[in-house]
């Protein structure tokens, strides 16, 4: 019988620990499909960060490093500068990349570091049980904004893709979403393009993926996907912010 659908080779045969309805699994799969289709898994070194995906090396089959919180772009820089012929990517959440790791991501982007960043934006800290992230929407309830995120007190959400796109260093920055099949297909193309940019030695590439956290949002999986469409995309518009 012909096999018409199977796990990508770049994903190990391990069950994800992610919550039901969480889109980390989809994001992992898309990255793995890109590694397969570009046939680069064997020379890829992935950098896991701190957050729910701290152990993504249990799922990705390529060589991996687990980085300190927020430092993945610096670790990736050290890897890429010592092994320029390898493919290097980081996989980071919004607490990791947009709060504690702000300096590292901005400077990796500004240097045009030839790495690929997969940035999961779910507007919340997942692993530590739902605290406010820099990406948390105004009026969003979290465990540290129990009365909602109030601009006067907590400030405003950070649109990371737009912030990085003003720099000269990045070669490619796109924001995509994982809320339905049509958008997942687009996200896949974005990820593949980002890795292709790296292969072509064009410099820093990043794909921001609007993602769910049903557990900490207090929504069921379907409601969570709808929240991306109805609440997140108005704040975080989809599209290509930088390409050269």
């Amino acid at each position: 019988m012909a096999i018409v659908f199977q796990k990508p080779k770049a994903l190990k045969d391990t069950a994800f620990h992610y919550c039901p309805g969480c889109t980390h699994g989809i994001a992992h799969r898309l990255v793995a499909e890109a590694l397969d289709e570009l046939d680069i898994e064997g020379k890829t070194i992935g950098i896991a960060s701190v957050g729910c995906s701290y152990n993504s090396y249990d799922y990705f089959a390529c060589d991996m490093i687990q980085a300190p919180h927020g430092r993945a772009p610096a670790v990736a820089t050290g890897v890429k500068r010592s092994k320029p012929d390898n493919i290097v990517f980081t996989y980071q959440g919004d607490g990791d990349l947009a709060a504690i790791g702000t300096a590292e991501i901005i400077h990796a982007a500004a240097r045009g570091e030839n790495i690929t960043v997969i940035f999961i934006n779910n507007t919340i800290y997942g692993m530590t049980s739902g605290q406010m992230a820099p990406t948390t929407l105004l009026n969003q309830y979290t465990t540290t904004t129990p009365y909602g995120r109030i601009a006067d007190h907590h400030g405003f959400p950070i649109n990371v893709s737009e912030v990085l796109a003003v720099l000269d260093g990045p070669a490619y920055i796109e924001r995509a979403s994982l809320h339905d099949v049509k958008h997942i297909k687009k996200a896949k193309e974005a990820i593949k393009k980002a890795f292709t940019m790296q292969i072509m030695k064009k410099g820093f590439s990043m794909v921001e993926l609007l993602s769910t956290c049903p557990t900490n949002w207090g929504l069921n999986p379907v409601e969570a996907l709808n929240r991306i469409k109805n609440e997140m995309i108005p704040q975080y518009p989809l599209g290509v912010f930088k390409e050269r």
Partner: protein, 354 residues
């Protein structure tokens, strides 16, 4: 005989690293060690290496973590406040067993402190400035020649044990100029790195560099393995110098710059009829306890002299373990111990006054 050059201590470190095969350097500017970065910035591009000025000390040590994870010889250097910022990374390097060489040209603290020489980072380097049960090899050179030789050695030790080695100098050692005699070829020992992340090329199993083990039983075993390694290093790699200790009544314990001052104290004391020796730890960790066993029966007292409030003093007391009195003379804030002050203490101990 090798090439002889008049060099600053900081430059000797940088030159030694390149000679040891370290052509990847990540750092951030801070006085009084910046000449290391200047030297690397100039030389590394010429040997197909990489000098990269990081956005922070935090980023620099994480770049070191990344490069070290690929099995590449890599170095960073800084001074006390910068080394404080690197502690998170150093803990990860220890936990994930990534080899690297880190230079700390110590300046006085706490806080921003000053830029004058100090030895007040002994606790931080030797007792673990970061979180967790970990150790790093700490080498304490006492001359520019030794800065060169011990830097080469540091890379060998780091690779051999998959551990961070700290070169612990101070502002005087980093800034002073002395003649260095370079070897024609360096004694480089580089074991295979089957653990390194280099891309598996579909030829071997996945390699992972990590320090997280959420299962406490697994993490305890991981720690036991680390402790076993540390014990092996204690057994094999402890280094020290004994100077004039054969029949000395009093032994000064001092390292780095202060050990040089101690030698001039010893000469002067001899003129006054006092027989004083020097025990100079070269490895601050592992601390040379065995050196004390060699001399304790034939000495009456120890004097620890440091540019700190008394940090190594604790290890000296542990090593002497109450068998002899341990006196202390320390200066802080960038002030340097003076020969005559130490002599005065010696006279007092001998029960005489000048």
């Amino acid at each position: 005989m090798g090439q002889r050059m008049l060099m600053k201590g900081n430059e000797a470190i940088a030159e030694a690293a390149i000679r040891a095969g370290c052509i990847h350097y990540f750092g951030y500017p801070i006085t009084p060690q910046t000449e290391i970065a200047h030297y690397m910035a100039k030389k590394l591009p010429k040997v197909n290496g990489v000098f990269l000025q990081a956005e922070s000390e935090v980023a620099a040590i994480n770049m070191v973590y990344g490069a070290g994870s690929t099995g590449t010889r890599v170095m960073t250097s800084s001074s006390s406040p910068g080394i404080s910022l690197k502690q998170e990374g150093l803990s990860y390097l220890a936990g994930a067993q990534v080899p690297a060489v880190v230079v700390n040209i110590v300046r006085a603290g706490p806080g921003l402190g000053g830029i004058q020489p100090s030895q007040s980072d002994y606790f931080q380097s030797c007792k673990g400035g970061g979180h967790g049960d970990y150790r790093q090899i700490v080498l304490a050179p006492s001359s520019v020649q030794e800065l060169y030789e011990l830097t080469v050695e540091a890379f060998n030790l780091s690779d051999k044990y998959r551990i961070v080695t700290i070169i612990q100098g101070d502002g005087i050692l980093g800034q002073m100029m002395e003649v260095v005699e370079f070897r024609d070829t360096e004694p480089i020992e580089r074991p295979e790195t089957p653990w390194a992340v280099t891309g598996h090329e579909n030829k071997r199993a996945q390699n992972v560099i990590t320090s997280i083990h959420l299962n406490p039983a697994v993490l305890e075993q991981w720690n036991r393995n680390l402790q076993e390694k540390y014990n092996l290093i204690k057994e094999k790699e402890t280094r020290y110098e004994l100077y004039n200790t054969d029949d000395s009544d009093i032994i000064i314990v001092a390292y780095g710059t202060v050990a040089r001052i101690a030698k001039s104290v010893i000469e002067k004391a001899k003129e006054e009829g006092f027989n004083v020796g020097l025990l100079r730890p070269i490895t601050l960790w592992p601390f040379p306890q065995e050196a004390f066993e060699k001399v304790i029966d034939r000495t009456k007292a120890f004097i620890t002299v440091e540019m700190s409030a008394g940090q190594m003093l604790e290890d000296v007391k542990l090593s002497v373990n109450g068998r002899r009195p341990v006196y202390f003379h320390g200066r802080m804030g960038g002030m340097v111990p003076e020969r005559d002050d130490i002599l005065k203490l010696i006279r007092d101990i001998y029960g005489k006054s000048a």
